[in-house]
Symmetry: C2
Subunit: 413 residues, 2 copies
């Protein structure tokens, strides 16, 4: 894509209400735009990153046998009355009436809707197990929205719900989802820890959180210095690892995923049963699994940035390579840059060509702010058949002979 034709409104101004690095950079680099408290528009670059992250999540869930659906966002309050959650959830639940006075809410999570969906379509143990997910809007009317995408009111979440004949099969799926989430977080280039957690407002018998390690994290977690054990401080009150007796260290994390062994709580409440192999009605045994998809964008940047801007990871970056034309008035630079641009595109590599009529300094500043992992600068030394490759993370510059350029770029993406 050509920079001159895409809307990337970069700015030097730090938004007034922003304290978190990811909030500041995602706005300054033109990924998102705030329009009301806790509400954001995704601009073209932000939408591309959102789609990339979503694709990784979908790919791993599909491989694990889960199936994507799309539930309505506007949900009858009656669903939540039946489960008894409507009062528990409090004022974060946004409720309203339609023109006929019927009560609705904007779903912050979809246990009730999904149980009703399955109740209406699955009758027999023969159709189980089943893992249904969606990657859809959610709304949570936070009292004090802040931190940009980290704690927005409207947000994109992947929520999955699995249905089983018994607890044993639910535990198998729970473990499969733990592995699947690990693959998702690893592919996104995140440094994370899986910790024992409190099940909170969702309920259930056991849960684990996926924590992105970051000093700015709102959660305090304890992690073992010897083994893989970790726990949220809400549930781990001891001072030695219960698994290996080593020391537990406190650190900060951003909750980006949460998986629950839910049991029959919602099936019982909503009277959702299947017929077992003896023809007897049994409540579905459930698990539920969430990932904060829009929050992941913020989490990636909290963990991957420097004082100049964002540094995207390989599978989350909006473009794999940026080509910078140093001086757009020099025809030979334009020709060489366009040639590389076309070659990379023909190989299926997503590339951003900075063809703006701006000074070179402004272009490099935008490259550092936006955070594409690799830049190719076509500049002054083109006469000597030399161009420069810049690594965004290290800011290291490497001079490359023009003849080796394509190979070198392909090596890095």
């Amino acid at each position: 894509m050509r920079f001159s034709q895409i809307l990337i409104p970069t700015t030097k101004e730090t938004p007034n209400d922003a304290s978190l690095v990811s909030h500041i950079y995602l706005i300054r680099a033109g990924f998102i735009q705030g329009y009301s408290s806790g509400l954001y528009n995704f601009l073209p670059l932000g939408k591309i990153v959102l789609d990339k992250v979503r694709a990784v999540v979908k790919d791993e869930l599909d491989k694990a046998g889960a199936m994507e659906v799309s539930l309505g966002f506007v949900t009858p309050s009656s669903f939540w009355k039946e489960s008894g959650r409507i009062e528990k959830y409090g004022k974060e639940l946004l409720r309203f009436e339609d023109r006929h006075g019927a009560e609705f809410l904007l779903s912050p999570t979809n246990e009730e809707s999904m149980v009703n969906l399955v109740k209406g379509s699955v009758k027999s143990y023969k159709n189980l197990p089943l893992n249904l997910y969606q990657i859809n809007l959610k709304f949570r009317d936070e009292i004090r929205p802040r931190f940009g995408l980290m704690r927005g009111r409207e947000f994109l979440m992947k929520d999955a719900y699995s249905f089983h004949i018994d607890n044993e099969d639910m535990l198998r799926e729970f473990n499969l989802m733990e592995d699947t989430y690990s693959r998702i977080f690893t592919r996104l280039g995140l440094d994370f820890r899986i910790v024992e957690a409190d099940s909170g407002a969702i309920g259930g018998s056991g849960s684990k959180e996926f924590m992105i390690l970051a000093d700015s994290g709102e959660d305090t977690i304890k992690v073992c210095e010897s083994c893989s054990y970790g726990a949220n401080i809400e549930v781990e009150t001891g001072e030695v690892c219960p698994k290996c007796n080593s020391k537990l260290n406190e650190t900060k994390g951003i909750e980006a995923g949460h998986i629950f062994q839910l049991g029959t709580q919602y099936s019982d409440a909503l009277d959702a049963n299947f017929l077992d192999n003896n023809g007897k009605a049994q409540p579905f045994v459930m698990g539920t699994y969430g990932i904060g998809v829009s929050r992941l964008l913020a989490g990636i940047i909290e963990q991957n940035h420097d004082d100049k801007g964002c540094i995207w990871t390989k599978e989350s970056t909006p473009f794999s390579v940026e080509i910078i034309i140093s001086n757009i008035k020099k025809k030979e630079e334009v020709v060489e840059a366009t040639k590389l641009y076309d070659e990379l595109k023909s190989k299926g590599i997503d590339v951003l060509l900075d063809d703006r009529r701006d000074r070179f300094g402004a272009k490099i500043k935008d490259f550092e702010l936006i955070g594409i992992p690799t830049a190719v600068v076509i500049g002054k030394k083109l006469g000597d058949k030399l161009v420069e490759i810049v690594d965004r993370r290290t800011l290291e510059k490497t001079e490359i002979e023009l003849d080796n350029l394509l190979d070198e770029v392909l090596k890095r993406v």
Copy 2:
């Protein structure tokens, strides 16, 4: 994908509130599930079709140079007060207050939000033209929701907004969008007509509708029997074609797309300006372009069905081929079907394998109801190295020698 592992709750029962063929079949074949008046969940098959249609829309818009963004669904009422639309829109606009008493609405369309987005990020004529689109949820609180996806309350719409320095450039984009829409509707296999239309609640100086021709359509249109002229009956009151003086015939259509020459109405109201090449502030000249994405699913079925069920078109079908194992207890049928399944998948063809422990009759009925264009039946004559291919549209059955099967299937997809 294996039928035994995907949730496709087909049923013989016609939903009580359904009169329209697409409404009946989309529910009976397990594409969607109603959960409240005018509100639907997309089940796995429905989600796949939605994604396929969405991909065609996105592909053609991207090729035309438009850029995808994603605006918030929950919108401050102040945006609509500023444009003056909040009263005009009436009770179809769903309004509510958040926990602090601030007024919001669920967007049925996003002119105000998009003008505010561009106002906050585009300053100069150098950044124009710009065409931004999104494929997102919308809400319209219909007084009497009916006809399934055709007139739901929550629906998926592609809405695009273009910004220009003058009317001439806006007209260029308007024509480009007319061509782009024609390509989208053609790729989706629809028989459609472009007609002159009334601009209604959106406003503007000229608009055209894309009408899917169907007897069940709610709109009456007049189409010329000689030339390509057509118009909505709301704007065409004459009895001969104004272009060629031939006869105009009345027919029914489903409005699935609408493109508007909007002008400066919203830019003026919301004080959204750019600096022209003399440094003078000018209001953006706008166009706006909508496609009812979830409605298209219903439109495709209104035009493509018989008395047995749906008949999907090539680019909208959830799977290109269905393989039916006639008798799952016969090992040789399973082996041959699985071989073909793996071969087709390895060639990137999306295929559904009906591996259920059901009677053959039930499987064929489901194939006809769901409407995948081609089925391969692996059955009784396998001993003679013969299998059957069924064309869903014609229901024609062709016996094929096993050795020619792969070639024959590839020819049809």
